[in-house]
Amino acid sequence: MSVEQRNVLKLCHDRLSVQEVVDAVNSDSCGATAVFIGTTREDEVNGRKVVGLEYEAYKLMAQTEFVKVCADIREYWPAVVHICVHHRLGWVKVGEASVVMAISSPHRHDSHQAIQHCISQLKAKIPIWKKEVYDTQEVSWKENSE
């Protein structure tokens, strides 16, 4: 049985919709969908309060790297059917999602493991950057530790 497989990366300035990402991976052949939502956390750094994050991306290269990440996922978890990642750009205030991703598979273990890999790889490989913006107007570029 050959099943069409979708790899979707959308970079956008609008608020993210979980439902839209979940719908994008929907498939009658899939019993399981794993979803990850990354949200700007309320945080204090050296007494300054984080009010939001400002994101930017190297858009074309992000798509190129995303294709590699998907190929990697499908090599490890061939049962994975669809992969969809929506990542926000520009200003994201505390409490709002900066990334929503969903992966579907017939059984749950594949999508569960694959989504963890997808987040790690996104953080390590996809050219996106954020700076924290504080209530003092100061900013600080972040760096993924992974």
């Binding site: 994101y55 190297y58 074309l60 990542h87 987040i119 953080k123 950057w129 700076k131 570029w141």
Partner: protein, 88 residues
């Protein structure tokens, strides 16, 4: 041989150079990634802050900055300065 490339700056590197992108003419090719980085450093000494934490991307492929890594450039090739990633 030399090439005229388009250099893109992101995140901290855009802040340090005050530029999102610029054309750079007469870049020798082939060139080691180390020399390519040094060439950018000469134009924008403030990039020094990113030394040892930055990589380049040439035609959308990551290139580590190391003496051994040689890069062949063509006219209008995209070279990007890639500070530590922080997506997600």
């Amino acid at each position: 041989m030399t090439a005229r490339v388009c250099v893109l700056y992101f995140a901290k590197s855009a802040e340090l150079t005050g530029l999102k992108e610029e054309e750079v003419a007469a870049v020798p090719t082939p060139i080691s990634s180390r020399d390519l980085w040094n060439l950018l450093l000469q134009r924008h000494p403030r990039l020094q802050t990113l030394q040892d934490r930055v990589v380049l991307a040439v035609r959308q492929q990551y290139v580590a900055i190391g003496d051994q890594v040689a890069v062949t450039l063509g006219d209008r090739d995209e070279v990007a300065v890639v500070p530590p990633l922080s997506g997600g």
